[in-house]
């Protein structure tokens, strides 16, 4: 009989609660919190780089992966180990260590094509007269409630995809979902714990009864659509990376296990290109009008996977590049999504180092940077000479930085954008991650162009879509080498075109056949099989000279 008992004091609960050890548990203390349904803020992916999952140990012991044992009282990072088996402990979780999602995701998008008003779903005035456009992302889910009579978006809600608690990246989820029980749990996480509450909240915000929802159109990456339908995604996890389906599918809410809307509500899943170039990119293609372009045109959708689509000479080439979560704030010492209190833009005025910051309003303090601020930082710090091409701070310029803007510790050197505020620090470690992310995207773009015999200068238009959407500064993306060899005039920032495409398909029924045709017409390139891709990637690692 084990005497193990871990007591936790939460900021939002009156009394201490017990934290169970899940059956067969061999993970970290942070995993236990996630399994208990109260995840900590493990934004660096449990790599020990950030302080997001710090908790206070009042009694007991904590054993790190390295074997080192920490005894109370201490501040511990819950991702670095666990309370030893059989031992007891008492913990307090500070408010800032709880994973919360402030729904401030970029839900706006640009639509570049004309749309007729001919809704996909038949509607009954004052009956079932609304429907949802849904962007189902790996990390974030956005639902938009649309009034079918007008095509107007009457409410928008977004939240974390609750599957994150079971596995924060796509591959972990694919691996888990090989087992039927875990597959059911993943499906439940997205249907019952993510989409149902979001759809109810959107209806409530608009004052529309959920019984009036006629259906939905869903755009998302191929893995998310497999998990939504309870399809075994195992074949997506190993080469040759085959999807069980990428075609347009029509189901009912009941078949998907959605309880918030009537069981007979019609749900359309948009078609995708391939295992790693999904319906989200097909939606983006239609939304930007890329398929009608006459000259060479690119769509770059920046998420954890950078997805790239080139239209040229009647051909469509599509690919996915492993950018990682850096541009979404993941794995950064102080990265965050675009939420209130996050730094969105950075400029370095000439003279004494004193960066000018643009902070997303709505919070009392400043904590963290979102993707657009990191892109600005790379461009500005390289331009001023503070950053060397390989991503290190120039030793001479470093010593000129006022001490309140500098940080030097075990994690190397960092610049505090706000003097004296450690939560605004950009470290050399962050820069190394950003360089790899931007090199993956840049090399993907260059490789697709090369495949078509083109260079960046030949491109008429580059649509830049994704989570940092309308925040991103095109010239900074060029200056840091994320979009190498382009000029600002070529670039148009278009926002969340996955949601935009789902909305279009919903309001104009002629859009879906176009999407189906496009999804079948593209040739998909596997970058890892492209000769010279690795060299191209390394070529783009450094910041431009």
């Amino acid at each position: 009989m084990s005497a193990e008992d871990i007591r936790v004091q939460w900021p939002d609960l009156p009394a201490e609660r017990s934290l169970p050890r899940p059956p067969g548990h061999a993970g970290t203390l942070a995993d236990r919190f996630a399994r208990a349904g109260r995840p900590l803020n493990t934004r660096c992916g449990q790599r020990g780089l950030c302080a997001g999952c710090t908790v206070t140990l009042h009694d007991g012991r904590f054993q790190e992966h390295t074997g080192e044992v920490i005894t109370a009282p201490a501040e511990i990072k819950a991702c670095r180990g666990d309370v030893p088996p059989g031992a007891s402990a008492r913990l307090t979780v500070p408010p800032r260590s709880i994973a919360v999602h402030r729904p401030q995701v970029v839900t706006n998008f640009k639509v570049n094509v004309g749309a007729a008003h001919a809704p996909l779903l038949p509607w009954v005035p004052d009956g079932s007269d609304h429907a949802f456009a849904i962007d189902l992302g790996t990390t974030t889910v956005v639902v938009a409630l649309v009034e079918l009579a007008t095509g107007r978006i009457v409410a928008e809600k977004s939240d974390l995809n609750r599957q994150v608690e079971l596995g924060d990246d796509v591959l972990t989820r694919i691996q888990l979902a090989g087992a039927p029980a875990a597959r059911a749990a993943l499906r439940e996480a997205v249907a019952t714990r993510t989409l149902d509450p979001l759809m109810r909240a959107a209806c409530a915000a608009a004052g529309v009864a959920t019984s009036r929802v006629a259906g939905a159109v869903v755009a998302g990456n191929t893995t998310m659509l497999h998990l939504l339908t309870g399809t075994d995604p195992t074949s997506l996890g190993t080469a040759p990376f085959r999807a069980t389906f990428t075609d347009h599918r029509v189901l009912t809410a009941a078949a998907l296990g959605w309880a918030a809307v009537p069981p007979a509500a019609t749900v359309h899943l948009l078609p995708g290109f391939s295992a790693y170039v999904g319906a989200d990119l097909v939606a983006g293609c239609i939304c930007t009008g890329l398929h009608h372009a006459t000259g060479p045109t690119l769509l770059v959708d920046l998420g954890t996977n950078g997805e790239i689509l080139l239209r040229h000479d009647g051909r469509m080439l599509a690919t996915a590049t492993a950018a990682g979560p850096a541009f979404e704030g993941g794995r950064m010492a102080h990265g965050t999504r675009a939420v209130a209190g996050a730094i969105a833009h950075v400029t370095f005025p000439p003279g004494q180092f004193s960066p000018r910051l643009e902070v997303i309003p709505g919070a009392s303090g400043v904590f963290g940077l979102c993707g657009s601020a990191y892109v600005d930082f790379l461009a500005q710090a390289r331009h001023s000479g503070l950053l060397q091409p390989a991503g290190r701070f120039d030793p001479d310029q470093w010593t000129e930085i006022p001490p309140a803007h500098r940080q030097e510790n075990g994690n190397g050197r960092g610049i505090r954008l706000l003097a004296g505020n450690p939560e605004t620090t950009v470290t050399e470690g962050d820069i190394a991650e950003l360089l790899q992310a931007k090199a993956a995207v840049a090399a993907g773009i260059v490789t697709v162009l090369r495949h078509a015999g083109l260079t960046p200068a030949d491109v008429e238009r580059l649509y830049l879509a994704g989570g940092f959407g309308l925040h991103l500064d095109g010239p900074a993306a060029i200056a840091c080498g994320l979009l190498p060899g382009f000029t600002p005039a070529q670039i148009e920032v278009v926002g969340n075109t996955s949601l935009g495409g789902a909305w279009l398909a919903l309001v104009d029924r002629t859009i879906l056949p176009e999407m189906v045709a496009v999804s079948l017409a593209a040739e998909v390139i596997e970058l890892n099989l492209e000769p010279g891709f690795e060299d191209t990637f390394i070529d783009h690692l450094c910041l431009p000279a």
Partner: protein, 212 residues
């Protein structure tokens, strides 16, 4: 500074063009190719690996240094062959079946070359049978398996099992890749694991030198 010092520095800072130019200059100065490898390339890459291990440099700097070394090596290889110089050890390396990622594997291959291994690189998506065939053909001291995806870790288990039967049963096996841990290495019966490419070179030498 001597040409070899300059060459070492060019590699450490990942300056490919300079690395090629100084390699050529050293050859023009009639420095034997083997000496260029031993006195410039190997110490420079060892220092890079060591600094990486200590967290003093990051992946991008490691990758550009490794490429500079690769370019220098390409110039030297014909001279080494002509001089009849063969590395002391042999290793076979590849990314396991189902996985197409090879940047990490290529980095380890370069560092193993720098640690006096002849490296036979089987590429990516390598089925267990091909590892076994290559191990039987080249009689390596060491076989290296790489996997970047969690989903391809089972293929690593299969490969170790295949290598452990028959004529290749006693070969030393090292594994690595983002999702791999020492615990996984112990579970599947591999001989060594390294968390990064710098450590991989050091571990490889220790494994083959300890072998009877």
């Amino acid at each position: 500074m001597s040409t070899l010092d300059l060459l070492g520095q060019a590699i450490a800072f990942g300056k490919s063009k300079d690395a090629k130019a100084f390699t050529q200059r050293a050859l023009d100065e009639a420095v034997p190719a083997g000496e260029i490898v031993d006195r410039a390339l190997v110490p420079a890459m060892a220092a890079v690996g060591e600094r990486f291990k200590r967290n003093e440099i990051f992946v991008p700097e490691m990758l550009i240094a490794a490429r500079a070394m690769k370019e220098a090596m390409a110039l030297l290889e014909p001279h080494l062959v002509a001089a009849g110089i063969t590395p002391k050890f042999t290793a076979v390396i590849g990314t396991v079946q189902g996985d197409l990622h090879d940047i990490g594997k290529n980095l380890v291959a370069i560092l193993w070359r720098g640690a006096n291994f002849r490296v036979v690189d089987l590429g990516t998506n390598v089925p267990p049978a091909r590892f076994v065939a290559a191990a039987a053909e080249h009689r390596p001291h060491l076989v290296g398996l790489s996997a970047l995806l969690t989903t391809t870790m089972p293929a690593m288990i299969e490969t170790v099992r295949a290598l452990r039967t028959g004529a290749t049963a006693s070969v030393k096996i090292m594994i690595g890749g983002a999702p791999i841990t020492q615990q996984f290495c112990d579970e599947i019966g591999a001989d060594g694991y390294a968390p990064d490419a710098g450590t991989a070179a050091e571990r490889a030498r220790a494994l083959v030198e300890a072998a009877p």
